[in-house]
Symmetry: C2
Subunit: 234 residues, 2 copies
Amino acid sequence: MRETEIRAAWYGLESCEKCAIRHLVLFADLTSKDFGVIHLPIEDIWLPPGTALYQQDQSAEALFTIREGLVKLEQYLADGNYRIVSLLGQGDVAGLEATISPHYEHTAVALVPTKVCRLPREVVARLTPQLNRQLMSKWHGMVQRSQQCVRELSTGSARQRMARLLLQIAPPSVEHCRLFNREDFGALLGITMETACRVISDFKKKALITEVGKNIIRRDLPALQAIASGECPT
Amino acid sequence: MRETEIRAAWYGLESCEKCAIRHLVLFADLTSKDFGVIHLPIEDIWLPPGTALYQQDQSAEALFTIREGLVKLEQYLADGNYRIVSLLGQGDVAGLEATISPHYEHTAVALVPTKVCRLPREVVARLTPQLNRQLMSKWHGMVQRSQQCVRELSTGSARQRMARLLLQIAPPSVEHCRLFNREDFGALLGITMETACRVISDFKKKALITEVGKNIIRRDLPALQAIASGECPT
DNA sequence: CGCCTTTTTGAGCGTATTCAACATACGTGG
DNA sequence: CCACGTATGTTGAATACGCTCAAAAAGGCG
């Protein structure tokens, strides 16, 4: 449905050794001689918003390290609705279940322009157990992320949840950040699209966020934090 | 605050080899000669409801395999409130972060009478990497559990959430199951204690659950499923 | 028995939902 | 390039739902 084709930039055998976010990614612990063992290509891909990395229940052939951008993990509910159960960013790994399970457990979709690094499961298998510690800590990060979803994005009023989300979509140092579509905001916060919309437009009115371009905003971080923590009148 | 003392039954060196839920626990993959390597005692403990297994931020010295019962993982929010971010049951491992992180990331508390198996982190370290695969899949289970919290317990109306929770607290085969206190119901579902209370009492009135003892109920599974999935008038 | 905690119920209010209408953006073909 | 159609975003009004605050009822426990 939201299937934009992948306009992939293909760098072929990527040199992970000089990756800018090397300390964050799966290979952080590997020495350069370990890289000799990798014979399979690791693709480096740019994804426009809305592109699916993989679909739920599909055969899990690879992991994806997120080098830049934001990826949502969605799961379908019994009633046909869906819910975003996790939000992944730089350094996170999407499709980690590939190391354990034959099928993907979510549909992973880019929310903003996103750069990922595709890692065939065989590469991981070949590097185990050197990779084990790092892999373990990625699992750990995954758990923390989804618990953060519960704690921050599914707790409190719609305004509070939205404020927390806006603080999460980019690190504080990032001036301008990109919003994604209203439906995704709703699914992420457990509220309706309309409510998400109202809250965003209210935030704009109160100058908690300022639109500096098409779906690009600047955030008033202290003010958002005040709302997030509930120390605010309305 | 909710600090009941641990009335622990101490079995000393527990024979994991003949554990009834052996296939579910961390040692599932180990051969019997591996057990010779375990020199540290593994305690087998019964916990009354309300007992804390460990506290958030405390130094993480052990993992706990849950042999029976239910354990909540709670995290404190900025405003002093707290939220239950995961619900663990038979075969799950509480305090998995001990393998990665120096401190516990939640407070783990038994919701019902619970039997756990305490595993000092050194035991795990000594058995790595044989234990690695199993450990990995426990992480995997942990992720699934907290995503289930988002998907099922933080989505939909209070009635739907409660119905889903009641279906989760024990497998369908279990006739009688124990309720925990109303505050916990609230924190788990992201609703207030009062709402939790009203919903439960409404479920009783409509005979979706029947009280067969002090906080012990029998469930009408098909009816609860109907509510859980939203195919219900009121 | 009386005190304390937990649970239950009530009434009024505020927030989020629903359903609908309308606006805007986007892509396609005329 | 504009006109049209569809998808997405925005706003409104009425309603339903869950929250707050308060008070009463029902267990524990000394």
